[in-house]
């Protein structure tokens, strides 16, 4: 019973919560997964005894302990060409998906964001742009009644007061892979995003942050690479403030059969080829398309998020279900 800090807190939370809710318990020892009635609170403990269990790495079956290392190697090798490949594979549509995530999030200035598996920082940069433009809009509205001076001049007076204050939005980019963070940091510095961003190495299953710290938690195209998704969801719940929002942007199941066939054909024929031609790496992109197929569908994932303790869980399908945004609140 070595690492007990996170689970003890989660147990305490469970006791305080509504006890009639069914608790789905996962124990990672040799026993099988089982569902207990809510009046027996079982503590989830994390044992290092994962050699017996196996998980999927694309279509391969690997021991659990190995998956994280192999995923690390994949992203280490693709880091340099990651953004180019994203544009090529999705034909630029991934930008629209990420913009939609921000629109649904609709953050106000002063929000604190945790961008998990943030890698090259796409979401965080969009977040900063969005909150800064929202900030300007607010100021403009605030002085609209006073039409004598231009809003710009008046806002300059205001901005001296509150720019350094708590109104500044901050984004923390957290990723387990140092290569991806390095690429993201260089990109941010080259495009002029230095204030309001921090870059932290961390594991989504064990975040290096205090409880109740963030207003919004996002994980974009990262959660399918995590070995224990439920643990990542628990951690998300832990670091969010009450009232905070969990948002996940991830590839999901296409329901339309014709679109599904086209999507499969495109994924399996074109994407590894593009990976080989553009990035010189076939295997990483073969892993990518396989890992998408292994991820649970929209409803199942919604259930997992609810089981972790989020409320008002909903999902939005984009591009016919190729991608889905799941959202939930911590109350």
């Amino acid at each position: 019973m070595g690492k007990m800090a996170a689970p003890v807190r989660c147990v305490a939370r469970r006791i305080l919560r509504d006890c009639t809710r069914k608790v789905n318990v996962l124990s990672t020892n040799q026993a099988t997964k089982s569902i207990y009635p809510a009046n027996i609170i079982v503590c989830r403990f994390h044992s290092n005894d994962s050699e017996g269990k196996s998980t999927h790495f694309g279509y391969e079956t690997v021991p659990e302990g190995e998956k994280a290392e192999r995923v690390y190697k994949v992203f280490e090798s693709v880091a340099q060409k990651y953004d180019v490949m994203n544009d090529a594979m999705s034909l630029g549509i991934h930008r629209i998906w990420k913009d939609t995530l921000l629109h649904i999030m609709n953050p106000l200035p002063g929000t604190r964001l945790l961008d998990t598996a943030g890698g090259t920082g796409d979401i965080s940069k969009r977040f900063l742009d969005y909150t800064r433009s929202q900030h300007e809009r607010q100021q403009r509205r605030g002085v609209r009644s006073q039409q004598t001076l231009s809003w710009q001049e008046i806002s300059n007076d205001y901005s001296h007061n509150d720019e350094q204050g708590p109104v500044e939005s901050t984004a923390v980019v957290c990723d387990i892979n140092k290569e991806m963070l390095k690429v993201g940091k260089d990109k941010a510095e080259n495009t002029g995003y230095s204030s309001g961003l921090s870059w932290v190495v961390g594991d989504a299953e064990e975040l290096p942050f205090a409880d109740d710290h963030f207003d919004v938690y996002t994980i974009a195209f990262g959660i399918r690479n995590v070995t224990h998704i439920e643990q990542a969801l628990e951690e998300a719940l832990r670091v969010l403030k009450p009232g905070g929002r969990f948002m996940c942007l991830e590839f999901s199941k296409v329901s339309n059969p014709l679109l599904s066939r086209l999507y499969d054909a495109y994924s399996f024929q074109m994407i590894p080829v593009m990976g080989e031609v553009i990035a010189g790496d076939w295997k990483s992109y073969q892993y990518l398309v396989e890992s998408i197929r292994n991820f649970p569908d929209q409803e199942t994932f919604k259930g997992m998020i609810e089981d972790a303790g989020f409320f008002r869980v909903q999902y939005f399908n984009l591009t016919g279900g190729v991608v889905a945004i799941h959202s939930g609140f911590k109350l």
Binding site: H56, Y59, E60, T61, R261, F268, Q269, V273, E276, V277
Partner: protein, 283 residues
């Protein structure tokens, strides 16, 4: 050697199970055990691909290589995906030759670890081994920079194309051509005439476009016809067991292979030698 993997209940229309290993099945494929990865089935580094993927790879790598000729991996992929017929022909030629069939059996590899450079340095000038060493030093290249074979779906043909890549440097020595653009194009013409690999033919056609007019002149008048003539006449260069012929005199080897000595001496100057080391056009 070939495997047909099971497609699921609803077969993907684009999965062609015609006897080739199908690596890109639809999502209903079962999970495989860690011992039976889809990779490295025929040889280490093998990635199974279906004909559509090969076609896409050929087009993509061709465009990438044209756009950036320093991408040797793309030239290699182009060679692998387009060279099936030529490789079969080469393999049959090797089989019909006694020395060639020895090579196919013993599978020698030309790598720094297998070459005894110290011994080769002691050989007399004019011997094949000594001239090859001189070539490596002057042009600052190493035999270890060849890409591994990935997309050839036959283990023997994979060796043939690997041998072709490794013999390329030796060909430079045999023909007396340096690794600058002109030398490379001359060697490509020889290879195109000899092997018929589409990648060589493509390189031979497009290579001259990047030459200056004076060099183009040299190519058109003397080097080019010489290379084509020798290529067509010469014995299959892949069938020679070079590793056992280091002591042989270069002239003697040329005569044996029916390669004319080069009509002029093409040299790479010292400053260019460094830059040229990167313009090595090998598949």
């Amino acid at each position: 050697m070939f495997r047909i993997s099971t497609c699921g209940v609803l077969p993907n229309v684009l999965v062609i199970c015609n006897g080739m290993t199908v690596g890109a099945a639809p999502f209903r494929q079962q999970h495989s055990s860690p011992l039976e990865s889809q990779y490295d089935r025929l040889y280490p580094g093998h990635i199974p691909t279906n004909p559509i993927q090969k076609a896409l790879l050929a087009v993509g790598s061709g465009l990438a290589a044209l756009q950036n000729p320093y991408r040797h991996d793309m030239v290699a992929v182009l060679g692998e995906t387009t060279g099936h017929l030529a490789l079969v022909r080469l393999r049959d030629q090797m089989k019909n030759d006694p020395e060639g069939s020895t090579i196919l059996r013993e599978r020698p590899r030309i790598r720094l670890s297998t070459l005894d450079l110290a011994h080769m340095a002691t050989l007399p000038d004019g011997s094949f081994g000594r001239e090859y060493l001189r070539f490596l030093e002057e042009n600052r290249v190493t035999p270890d920079s060849r890409a591994d074979v990935k997309f050839v779906d036959n283990e023997e043909l994979a060796y043939v194309i690997q041998r072709y890549r490794e013999v390329h440097d030796l060909l430079h020595t045999l023909l007396g051509m340096p690794t600058n653009m002109l030398g490379e194009v001359a060697v490509k013409w020889f290879e195109a005439a000899q092997t018929g690999l589409p990648m060589c033919v493509l390189g031979a056609t497009l290579g001259p476009l990047r030459l200056s007019s004076s060099r183009l002149q040299t190519l058109a008048t003397s080097l080019g016809p010489w290379a084509l003539r020798s290529g067509r006449r010469a014995r299959c260069v892949l069938s020679i067991f070079y590793e056992r012929r280091w002591d042989q005199s270069l002239e003697e080897l040329r005569e044996e292979l029916d390669i004319e000595p080069p009509p002029l001496v093409v040299t790479a100057t010292k400053e260019k030698a460094a830059a040229n080391a990167e313009t090595e056009l090998v598949s």
